[in-house]
């Protein structure tokens, strides 16, 4: 691959299986750095907002939020879709890029999977609590035999959503844990502290790395990747059905599934970027998460960003081409109505900003990529706000129009889930290896020429 000769390698030259093992396990086994306490304290404090809001919500129900008729789905659902979307990059990196034999995924897949898991956990808070009584969510949505003899309505996309999201959460957790087993064994063998030995030892379940172990393990991983690939595509497709199966103008569109999946991957890679740039800096992991990874992620963001822009274009086109009064009005109202400024911001964040990624200079700038990734995260949140709120607030009858403003409790719930997400992330980077050690051993041969050739196997 001569065209790739000048690209940065996926791992800095000179590393051997021994040195990658020592370097990555040192992150976990060394003394806790001071910044960790600060970061965790701030996140954990923010997570308290979530618990306070939950308590208030359980006493007073969803009336504390800004939702009302006509806008019965407010930023609770915006946040749900946003978090679920973010999760998609983790599965994409760990499953689809594994099947495509992309070696560069090796050093980012572990924490991208953790990000998936914690993002799904954050998303789950909204689906549970937007019903007002989270135990009712179980009672309405899970098919358990009950004294009334009734069952959930399986013809509804909302039921599909329950199955899709809970399957996704389960498979992501299993995939992540299976990936961890050999590394937990490494930590068991490296740990000097008796508690570490016992805790990692129990979690590693006696992993010995025998030929039989690895053979079953590799087979199971490959099959899980094969199963997770259609699963991840199905999850956001089903989420988009929550809208597309409804008849509300602005929701009832066949472009929704592909456009939602592309948007999910777009926001997910933006979040991986937002997290990996500070992570590689504070832990000194620039040799493993190289510019090559950041550049590849930037390219995926650019590609998926263009698909998302195409989706916006099709929505505009269909509003005109359908000749439907309500569709046309919805689009006019979306751009020029009271929430028009949010649509403008959305285009700025999601369509215009990523165009900078065409420039090699921007793709080589860590700071530039960091800012673009944050802007895309904001943009994808705005996209869901535009889809959900502007479609609902003025639909068919002008007599039923209304406005929606999130209250302070809407925002505190959202900030609380950010706190939950980052608290879990901080715990993860402290107690588990952020990079898959055993997979890094396979690419760290110690020979610089070899490291180069592994760029494209």
């Amino acid at each position: 691959m001569s065209a790739n000769a000048d690209r940065p390698p996926v791992i800095a030259p000179g590393y051997t299986p021994a040195t990658v093992t020592d370097k990555i396990s040192a992150v976990v086994l060394n003394k806790t750095p001071k910044w960790w306490y600060v970061g965790f304290a701030i996140s954990f404090l923010a997570a308290q907002l979530l618990f306070i809001t939950m308590a208030k919500l359980l006493v007073l129900t969803v009336g504390i939020w800004g939702v009302n008729i006509p806008v019965a789905w407010g930023i609770d659902i915006v946040n749900f879709v946003w978090w679920i979307g973010i999760g998609h990059a983790g599965t994409l990196i760990s499953a689809i890029l594994l099947l495509l034999r992309q070696t560069w995924r090796t050093s980012i897949n572990r924490f991208a999977e953790a990000m998936t898991l914690f993002a799904v956990a954050a998303a789950a808070q909204f689906v549970l609590f937007h019903t007002g009584r989270q135990w009712l969510a179980v009672y309405w949505l899970f098919p358990y035999p009950n004294t009334m003899g009734v069952w959930p309505q399986f013809r509804s996309p909302l039921m599909w959503d329950v199955f899709a999201v809970s399957t996704y959460a389960t498979i992501s957790a299993l995939f992540w844990f299976v990936g961890l087993i050999p590394d937990l064994a490494t930590l068991r063998d490296r740990s000097k502290h008796w508690f570490g030995k016992i805790a990692y030892g129990m979690l590693a379940m006696g992993w010995r790395g025998s030929a039989r172990h690895w053979h079953n393990y590799e087979t199971a991983s490959l099959l899980l990747a094969g199963l997770a690939t259609p699963l991840v595509v199905s999850v956001h497709t089903v989420v988009s059905f929550d809208f597309a199966v409804g008849i509300i103008p602005g929701w009832h569109a066949t472009i929704f599934p592909p456009y939602f999946v592309a948007g999910a991957i777009y926001s997910g890679f933006a979040m991986v970027m937002t997290l990996s740039i500070p992570l590689r800096k504070v832990f000194g992991l620039e040799d493993f998460i190289t510019m090559r990874h950041l550049q590849n992620m930037a390219k995926i963001m650019l590609a998926t960003g263009l698909i998302v822009a195409y989706g916006y274009g099709i929505e505009l086109f269909m509003a005109w081409y359908s000749g439907n009064t309500f569709e046309t009005f919805m689009m006019k109202n979306r751009i020029l109505g009271p929430y028009g400024w949010i649509w403008g911001l959305l285009i700025l964040c999601n369509v215009l900003t990523p165009q900078f990624l065409w420039l090699r200079k921007v793709r080589n700038s860590v700071l530039g990529l960091f800012f673009i990734s944050i802007i895309v995260n904001v943009g994808m949140w705005l996209e869901r706000f535009v889809i959900i709120v502007t479609s609902l607030h003025r639909d068919f009858l002008p007599s039923s129009w209304g406005m929606y403003t999130p209250t302070v409790w809407d925002w505190s719930f959202f900030v609380g889930t950010l706190g939950l997400f980052f608290s879990l992330m901080f715990l993860f980077i402290r107690f588990l290896p952020v990079i898959s050690i055993f997979e890094m051993r396979t690419i760290a041969t110690g020979d610089p020429a070899d490291a180069k050739s592994k760029v494209h196997p």
Partner: protein, 205 residues
């Protein structure tokens, strides 16, 4: 059914057990001797040693590596993995469960006419059928992998070898089990020393 499950897991619950035949020659084994283990610096040396050991006629052997080595499973004589079969069974079971859960609740147990839609609205049942297929197949993959690998098993005699902790860093190990019919206390140790190993030692259980 019982014999089917039995066959599925037979020998593979404890893969290193193998099928030891009668002992070739006499000679009492020291009590508590579990096997002999040799340490190698890289995968190529290990593979070479595995071939030599198999050629010598040893059957109950196992290799330990810090990362998966592709040819190793075949070289050492383990059969193909049974994880795919379990995943297939899991997937089929999940698909059937998903579909018939919806069919039975919507068409048999509590048929509800919603806008004249058929009770068996099979098209609407596809997403959940699909999700259940993936869910069951994925769980089968993970549990199957663990069961076939004999995990969890917190203690194993190899852990008593002090240098074995390097198997999770950068060293490669090969063990010949005392159960092997050709195993003889001193000879096997001396044979392994000829394979170019950096360390050879007894493993006690």
């Amino acid at each position: 059914m019982k014999s089917f499950i039995g066959r599925l897991f037979a020998r593979h619950v404890r893969p290193e057990l193998g099928t030891p035949g009668p002992r070739v020659s006499g000679g009492e084994l020291p009590p508590h001797l579990y096997g002999v283990i040799a340490e190698f610096a890289n995968a190529d040396e290990l593979l070479h040693a595995v071939h030599a050991t198999r050629k010598e006629g040893y059957q109950v052997v196992e290799a330990y590596t810090p990362y998966p080595v592709e040819e190793l499973n075949e070289a050492i004589g383990h059969g193909p993995s049974r994880v795919p079969l379990l995943v297939l069974i899991g997937g089929i079971a999940g698909g059937l469960f998903g579909f018939f859960l919806q069919y039975w609740t919507s068409a048999i147990d509590y048929p509800l006419n919603v806008g004249g839609r058929p009770y068996n609205s099979w098209v609407s049942f596809i997403p959940i059928t699909f999700e259940c297929t993936i869910l069951f197949a994925g769980i089968a993959a993970v549990l199957g992998m663990l069961v076939l690998n004999g995990l969890p098993m917190p203690y194993h005699p190899v852990f008593s070898v002090p240098r074995f902790q390097l198997a999770s860093r950068d060293r490669f190990f090969l063990m010949i089990f005392a159960r092997d019919p050709r195993f003889r206390a001193g000879d096997t140790l001396r044979f392994m020393e000829t394979l170019g190993a950096s360390h050879v030692s007894d493993v006690e259980d």
